[in-house]
Symmetry: C3
Subunit: 347 residues, 3 copies
């Protein structure tokens, strides 16, 4: 439970003195928010629904306040304000401090009193743990790993030896950071494994989803800069470098040694080839096939639109004739020009 | 070992009294089934192979019985019958009942005597476990999770706090249900995390493969209805709603808040954009890019066919000229019409 | 630390007697290699950078030795030589021999004295462990699994019952081998699960990345031949058969029962439909949609090139008109021919 006055203080905005004592238990979508819920309006297209709002309070832009039938918190960016106060409503208790007797911590490791290490978690020799780190049950911290302050590993996360995380990072369950990059040299009779001697260095405030894999570098490190956010099941291959604040949605795959700029966004299932350079502020729509460098900011796409399969088949077969169609078109143009001239000459 | 008579009884079909004592040790493909194997014919195109069948017994449609050189079980749908009796041949012993001394179960949790909890499994406070649940080694059940009767979590499965599974669900190894949805608000200097306050609610008889991620909702829950089946490495983002009996093959990714109908099928690697509505009985071929709503049942596809790379390159470059080609085509048509008229006028 | 003489001996190449004592601490890219680093030149386009090289030693082809300002090791294939000596520079200590007291090993299992079993690892009944196997913390070895000599499972790997690995295999963290294939028969009211009675058989020297899923077969086994290499987050469905030395990059998905030849390569995110046969020496570029059999060796691709989204939209909409465009083209050609003849007749 939190009061409207507390939220207003946290957001640094005004609240009517009659309203500061209003108690809130949760946040809910505008349409179903009830008498103990907070709601918010982030886009003007939702204003129609605002007039029927029965929330205890609603976050709006100042211009929209007059349209609210309930007490309002006015801020420049209601969606950001919603994000900023969302943690007040997260009721999950903090995990217990200390080392669970079912955890395995190498005696070489100093565990801060503020840390929480769950049962089955394992910390190998020479790991360095920051203040307030949370190692959930079954998390694995390899030899010589460094975890900054306030890092949280959810259950089953695996950090291989030497991986470095900055402060305030979150890694969701079963993600793997620092496994060997996919490096092999061809022999006539098979493949010669290349030991992956680099590591993975991750900045501050990096948020990593569940089931993610970020591989260690071959010689240099794989690098994820500050404030990068990564969704579930993303794969980042060895020696990629991801610039600050770049956002990577679910199931994106990045091949080795690609260098991604700052403030880029990758929608789901985008694939990036290896050894590419992508400039800052490049944005990719879902499933885009990024097989060339990008040096102009902007939005990029590839693929074909969804069609009924029967119609798609007809068009898809023509894709395989596209070059021939183009050449027929060129021939037609020339022939028509020639004929046009012949007809004019006739006149 | 099972007898033909027992299988006939299970399937509710007739077996010749001379045959009921036939003993079967396994199921095998028609071509290699031997004298203690059961085989089946599910499609008429396999009837040619039936005449050489050396199985102990074969499941067929009634019309095909005369063509079988070996005893037959006759049913309307042989493939379904094969599925229905396949469990007779699964020889893996049930896991031992009780709580392994290497498991970690919060004292607040009541564990039914019919449950099996393996070493390294962890059950947090206030979880509710149904009858006959199996928590394999290293499975993690977060605070306040509800597991219906007969649920089985394979090793390394992680259920975050508050996740609800109905009865008879299976979750294969290392899948993660209830990790935070990918929700952030943009600040000028980075991203503001949005606490994901919803959960994941999963119905009865839902089967989930290995390495799957299903994220918890932002405000409302992510919902998977009864009888949904999900293959390995599928990603379902926050606040998706998946309708009953829908089948999702490997590596499919669904972005946030999409609402999928009943009885849909998604082939491998399909990508679904966020906030879309897909009607019942919509079917998508592999890698389809579902970036718009679908309100007509039917089959849908996108992409281009596989070609030799040398040929593909020529056609792919023309894709980037398609709009120009279309405009040249329109111009040609107009020019040809004009010329045709000019020629006619001349006559 | 290793000496140049030791590396020359390992590679079977000559080193100048003045140089054999040179001590090396690491391998570094040509551009940043310092006085205790080894470097290598694998392609002639890097020869320009060789003249400024400050490494302690460089691996080159014999023809390039004259251009090296530092001592050189001359070999026919410098990239392969780099791979062959890379393990000398891997400083991670071997895991401790023996069974950690926090591991769970069924009494029926014989553990070789050369094996290492970490805390939280679990070995079920009747598993067979080869010499020098390493089961990292939290790895799970199901009932009756066979692991050949020198196999290494990284943390959180799950091998289901009956899975067989040959010698010298590596499986990176949180991969799952042997989960149920995605097999269900349709009932009117839902799906009937088909028990997956096959297993997974993996050859020698197979390298499997992190977060991979390889499902057990329905009746026969899923088979991965010797010397196959598999990157992170690959999914291989039930009853696939992968030929020797085939390389599969990250996020590739293969549907059930496909049979892949030897020496194939799959780039990232390729999707292979079910029941296909792919011949030896077939190579697929990233995201290729392999929905038909391939019986000619060579390179294959599909998809469209990356474009600015605004331009892509214009072309993509024309894709849906391709068949109509083709028909208009045919009509134009006929009309133009007719007109051409009419004009000639006029003359």
């Amino acid at each position: 439970m939190v009061t409207l006055g507390e939220l207003a203080a946290h957001l640094g905005c005004e609240a009517d003195s009659d309203d500061v004592g209003i108690e809130l238990d949760g946040i809910a979508p505008l349409g179903r928010a009830g008498s103990r819920d907070l709601a918010f309006v982030s886009e003007s297209r939702y204003l129609d629904a605002l007039k029927d709002c029965r929330a205890a309070c609603v976050i709006v832009k100042p211009d929209w306040q007059a349209q609210s039938p309930v007490p309002a918190l006015c801020v420049a960016d209601p969606y950001l304000a919603y994000a900023q106060i969302s943690a007040f409503f997260d009721t999950l208790p903090a995990p217990p401090l200390g080392i669970h007797p079912g955890a395995f911590v190498d005696p070489s490791v100093t565990v801060p009193a503020s840390a929480s290490i769950g049962p089955g978690a394992c910390v190998e020799a020479d790991a360095v743990l920051g203040e307030h780190v949370v190692l959930s049950p079954g998390a694995y911290v390899g030899r010589g790993v460094t975890l900054g302050d306030n890092c949280r590993l959810w259950p089953g996360v695996v950090l291989y030896h030497g991986v470095v995380l900055g402060d305030d990072c979150v890694v969701h369950a079963n993600s793997v950071i620092g496994a060997d990059g996919f490096g092999f040299a061809r022999r006539t009779d098979g493949w010669e494994k290349i030991s992956q001697l680099g590591s993975v260095r991750i900045g501050d405030r990096v948020d990593i989803g569940a089931g993610v894999t970020i591989d260690r570098g071959a010689l240099d490190d794989t690098v994820i800069a500050d404030d990068v956010i990564i969704d579930d099941q993303v794969h980042i291959a060895h020696n990629c470098v991801i610039g600050r604040r770049t956002a990577i949605a679910g199931c994106v795959g990045m091949a080795g040694s690609s260098v991604i700029g700052e403030d880029c966004t990758f929608a789901g299932q985008v694939g990036v080839s290896g050894h590419l350079k992508i400039c800052d502020n490049a944005h990719f729509t879902g499933q885009a096939k990024v097989a060339r460098k990008v040096d102009e900011p902007g939005n990029y796409s590839s693929g074909t639109p969804l069609e009924a399969t029967r119609q798609w088949r007809k068009n898809a077969v023509r894709f395989g004739q596209l070059d021939a169609m183009q050449r027929r078109l060129v021939k037609l143009e020339a022939k028509l020009d020639a004929l046009g001239e012949a007809v004019s000459d006739d006149d």
